[in-house]
């Protein structure tokens, strides 16, 4: 008994080319589908084909998974990565672009590194998954079969939590919580703001992706305003009751570096947003009218995860088996990155997504190498850095070890903490960390 994937790999391999030709591939897939539907296809036996893993999403989680699947199997697994965007833009360091210290090119990378490892990169939009028949359908109608699927869709926004805002009708009210066009657009708005203008950032209740990033963004916008628009105001409107990460470090930066510029207001959950007048209303307290209004809505797992029934927790996140990152809802599908239901004290961050991907890749590759995944998956190290101006940064560090009783990762408390103080040395480490993390994800 054969399947259409067999047909396409056979076709591709006899074609004698390693490079992936999308047209060929789609033709082969269509032919394969027809053949499979029509009955037997002769010529190749199932066991001769390399296993095929499809990865949905080319962010930190998905790209790292694709890379480690190829490396870990010494090229023995065929890997296809589906990514909507033409290139990779890093969310870490994107606040430096918003603050004007870096350009979008500085934080953008391509997928050629993955291609060089033999990953087929398809720029398309995965719109449906069939977990039983093991296939993925793309928006353009094409289809891919898989032996294992890695779903790394990142986050989507819960627009219903910000009445008045929708993805389509946000107008000038940006989130810039996914790096790319919105990063540049927000930078332009800040540049165009008059001296004396108000920049307001609204932070959702936890959990959201990158806990420290809203506070870092406020610092970097304030750093820009300090020299270019000294009469401006940076308002932080936080739905939470306190600063959610690196609290002491941010508090001291605001009072020492930006005393008359930054104002922090906790307990400000949004009740509505008026796009036309750039006004936000809150469940309590006064409405705020801003010149640049930056609203970060609450978040949940990316659309494809919900569509495929992978969301198991609170209508938001995907539950997984931490030993393998395999979905609790559907066997054969691994979910990595911010879309997962986090283990206790586990942040949703770039470095964490990168580490999730290695757990998944190791588990997927193991049976190929005649191994069973370890009952104790590896201890993972995680870091994040925040800038307080264009040069001074501080880290948050944590180590997470698997706990069999908990059946999840738990924080190793002695290994976790933040810098005592911001500093230039750590500003250099922060940029070095980004270079290495990008390389480990894409090189």
């Amino acid at each position: 008994m054969q399947d259409f994937r067999g047909a396409h790999f056979a076709a591709q391999k006899t074609g004698g080319t390693m490079s992936f030709d999308r047209r060929e591939f789609l033709k082969a897939t269509a032919a394969g589908l027809a053949a499979a539907g029509g009955g037997a296809l002769t010529g190749c036996t199932a066991t001769k084909h390399a296993a095929h893993v499809v990865v949905i999403g080319g962010g930190f989680g998905g790209a790292t998974a694709a890379r480690y699947l190829r490396l870990g199997s010494a090229g023995g697994i065929d890997v296809t990565l589906i990514e909507r965007q033409p290139g990779f833009v890093s969310f870490p360091m994107s606040n430096l672009v918003i603050g004007g210290a870096k350009k979008l090119e500085d934080i953008s990378r391509g997928y050629d590194g993955l291609r060089a490892h033999g990953v087929r990169v398809i720029h398309g939009n995965a719109v449906a998954i069939d977990p039983v028949g093991r296939g993925v359908r793309l928006a353009d109608g094409s289809a891919l079969g898989y032996d294992r699927l890695v779903v790394a869709p990142g986050i989507d926004f819960m627009w219903e939590t910000v009445p008045g805002l929708t993805a389509e009708a946000a107008g000038p009210v940006l989130h810039a919580w996914q790096a790319g066009a919105q990063t540049t657009a927000l930078r332009k708005q800040i540049e165009a703001m008059a001296d004396g203008g108000v920049f307001a950032i609204c932070i959702p209740r936890t959990p959201y992706r990158c806990l420290a990033a809203p506070y870092e963004r406020a610092c970097l916008v304030a750093h820009y305003c300090k020299t270019h628009k000294p009469r401006a105001k940076v308002l932080i409107l936080d739905a939470n009751d306190d600063v959610q990460a690196q609290r002491g470090l941010f508090m001291s930066a605001w009072s020492e570096l930006y005393p008359n510029l930054v104002e922090y207001r906790p307990n400000h959950p949004i009740s509505s947003v008026d796009v036309a007048s750039k006004t936000v209303r809150f469940e309590f307290g006064d409405a705020v009218k801003a010149d640049v209004l930056n609203v970060v809505p609450s978040q949940r797992a990316g659309a494809i995860a919900r569509q495929a029934g992978l969301v198991t927790a609170g209508n938001r996140w995907c539950g997984i088996d931490w030993r393998t990152m395999e979905s609790l809802a559907h066997p054969g599908i691994h979910v990595v990155g911010s879309a997962t239901l986090a283990a206790p004290m586990m942040p949703k961050s770039a470095h964490m997504s990168n580490q999730h991907a290695k757990i998944a890749a190791a588990a997927i590759v193991a049976p190929l190498l005649g191994r069973v995944p370890s009952p104790e998956p590896i201890t993972i190290a995680h870091a994040g850095y925040s800038y307080f101006d264009d040069r001074n940064a501080a880290h948050m560090m944590s180590v997470h070890a698997y706990d069999a009783k908990l059946a999840a990762y738990r924080l190793v408390p002695e290994s976790s903490g933040v810098s005592a103080r911001r500093g230039e040395a750590e500003g250099k480490h922060a940029w070095a960390w980004a270079q290495n993390l990008w390389a480990d994800t894409l090189a």
Binding site: M1, Q2, D3, F4, R5, G6, A36, G37, A46, H49, V53, A128, G133, R134, G135, R137, G145, D147, E326, G332, H351, N354, Q355, K358, A362, A363, I364, A366, P367, L368, V372, P373, S374, E376, I378, T379, I380, A381, A383, M397, V399, V412, E414, S415, S416, G417, A425, E426, K428, H429, W431, A432, W433, A434, Q435, N436, L437, A439, D440, A443
Partner: protein
Amino acid sequence: MKMRWSGLAFTVGALTLSAGALAAPPTAAMLVNACAGCHGVNGGSAGPSMPSLANQSKEAIVVAMKKFKSGERPSTVMGKLAKGYSDADYAAMGELLSKQKLHATTQTLDAAKVAKGKSLEEANCSRCHMEGGKEGKEDSPVMASQWLPYLSIQMNQYLDGTRKMPEKMAEKVKPMSKTDLDALMHFYASVK
């Protein structure tokens, strides 16, 4: 909408995760992969303030991790991180890293300083940092091709007393001028 795939037949056995065979402990490679986000691909750092670990001596790595853990050696992140791993982990990671290929860096260095450093290293440092820094005696670190900014941070920590210098190394380093030590760092960074 019903999709039709026929992947099932193909899938049999190929990538099943069910238990049955012997479970293996995590490999050294998996342990070291967890460091790559900061120390780079194959132990070669892409950021000049973070050290490359490829081709570092196993002993130097084990000693460094122990000193980070105890707090004897100053650090930003490594003191915390080292507490999450055991001595056995250090040994496994050190073993693997020591076998990785030296990461030859391309950095802007001052040729005059490199030459000056070269003239000083044999008499002062080569007893422990051997072969132009390509090898280390006992726990003396390999320094060849290491990033200059990283090396300079370390030398400054020795000089200001925050990192404790081995006595025999101090005998050589203490009498030297800052200019000479800077030249030595340029030299080691240049060795490929």
